[in-house]
């Protein structure tokens, strides 16, 4: 028998009630191996106004490029302290923040290898279904051969690549523009 997927509905303005008890902004407690980075930025709407009621969720592999998930059959070590999932609720200025590690490379379609990336899911009032996008790391030579980045029109790829904060190489900044000028690339998932 075949069923049809339940329709999506917005999280609405009161999502904080449901998600605040399970905010995870630090994905990499002491002992997790890998290059430590912070990822932060702002979510803005079509008027450039900060979105103060959105949820940013991230999903990523560990430093070796292994997901903490039974379907990742790669012969690579898992890190019991690293689950790879984060959830941040944006503040009044639209900002979210995570402390994590840079993920390793994971396989892509057709025997390719993907560049290090973090999958990002975004919810907010006014979004009838969530957005999915990705963040890549600045100055990583692997970006040039990433099979997903290659699908993105060249003039829009920069919206998916984080920037170093001035003076701190481990602090990455990545903003989400839901609509308008320099609109972030979102995926049809």
């Amino acid at each position: 028998m075949s069923l049809l997927t339940t329709a999506s509905q917005t999280v609405g303005p009161y999502v904080r009630i449901g998600f605040e008890p399970s905010v995870i902004e630090n994905l990499a407690p002491a002992g997790v191996s890998g290059e430590r980075v912070t990822l932060s930025g702002c979510v803005t709407d079509g008027d450039g106004k900060p979105v103060n009621d959105s949820i940013v969720e991230i999903w990523q592999a560990n430093a070796q490029g292994k997901y903490a998930h039974p379907e990742d059959a790669q012969d690579k070590p898992v890190d019991a302290r690293f689950r790879g999932f984060g959830r941040s609720l944006t503040a009044a200025d639209g900002s979210y923040r995570f402390a994590t590690i840079k993920p390793g490379r994971v396989p892509g379609p057709g025997g390719t290898l993907q560049a290090p990336h973090i999958v990002v899911t975004i919810f907010m009032r006014g979004l009838l279904k969530h957005l999915i996008t990705r963040v890549y790391f600045p100055d990583d030579p692997a970006n040039a051969e990433d099979p997903v980045l290659k699908l993105v029109p060249a003039d829009r790829r920069a919206t998916l690549i984080a920037r170093h904060s001035p003076g701190d190489k481990s602090a990455l900044e990545w903003n989400v523009r839901v609509q308008g000028q320099d609109e972030t690339v979102f995926f049809d998932y």
Binding site: M1, S2, L3, L4, T5, T6, A7, S8, Q9, T10, V11, P13, Y14, V15, I17, G18, F19, P21, S22, G46, D47, K49, V51, W59, Y67, H69, P70, E71, D72, A73, G84, F85, V106, P107, G108, P109, G110, Q114, H117, T121, F123, M124, R125, L127, L128, K129, H130, I132, P147, V148, L151, V178, Q179, G180, E183, V185, F186, F187, D188, Y189
Partner: protein
Amino acid sequence: MTGVTGYRRPYFETQPAYLYPGYRSTVKRSPSRPLVLLPHTLSEVTGPVFGYDDVKPTDGDLTRQHEGEPIGERIVVSGRVLDENSRPVAHALIEIWQANAAGRYRHAVDDHDAPLDPNFTGAGRVLTDAEGRYRFVTIKPGAYPWRNHYNAWRPAHLHFSLFGVGLVQRLVTQMYFPGDPLLQYDPMVNSIPDQKARARLVSAFDWETTIPDIALAFRFDVVLRGRDATPMETARS
């Protein structure tokens, strides 16, 4: 390692579009540029894994989270989480949030002139069992005005957030109640083009799961995406 099996894309007209001007907030919060079709790679068919350590036994009973009992009509909300191939989704994390019986949320931006209930927070979470079953006990939420248009009222609803096995199964939706006269006027419900897909968001009164003399009950099954092709069962040798 071989290739990954992706998930089916949503069936025609069963999901809302991003832009639906009848729901005003979509106008500035919907992408205007074309979406890029994402192949389902290892990054999308994996996703966060939750376990029984992530939920407390009291998290599923929203009537027992404070000293006293919340005001309102106690209800049981239960059902199954399945995928499009009718397979149960085991250990799916379900998070819910809702207004109290008076139609007021415990949230700083809710200024609706209705009372807060000191004994009701309105948030719960459970994990589905091996057959995909879940169960909450809560209070039937009230309808409330939301200023989207003149005299706009949201039908009573529970917000549902679900994590399946793979990230692309992630779903946030709302469960409605049968017979609610506000459903036909609700832009959020009406943003779903297919009438049958709208109807599937309405729970069913469920006599069998009532708690005699304590609580009435509603059943709400949720369907997450299924695999593109049914994976071959490999013979065990």
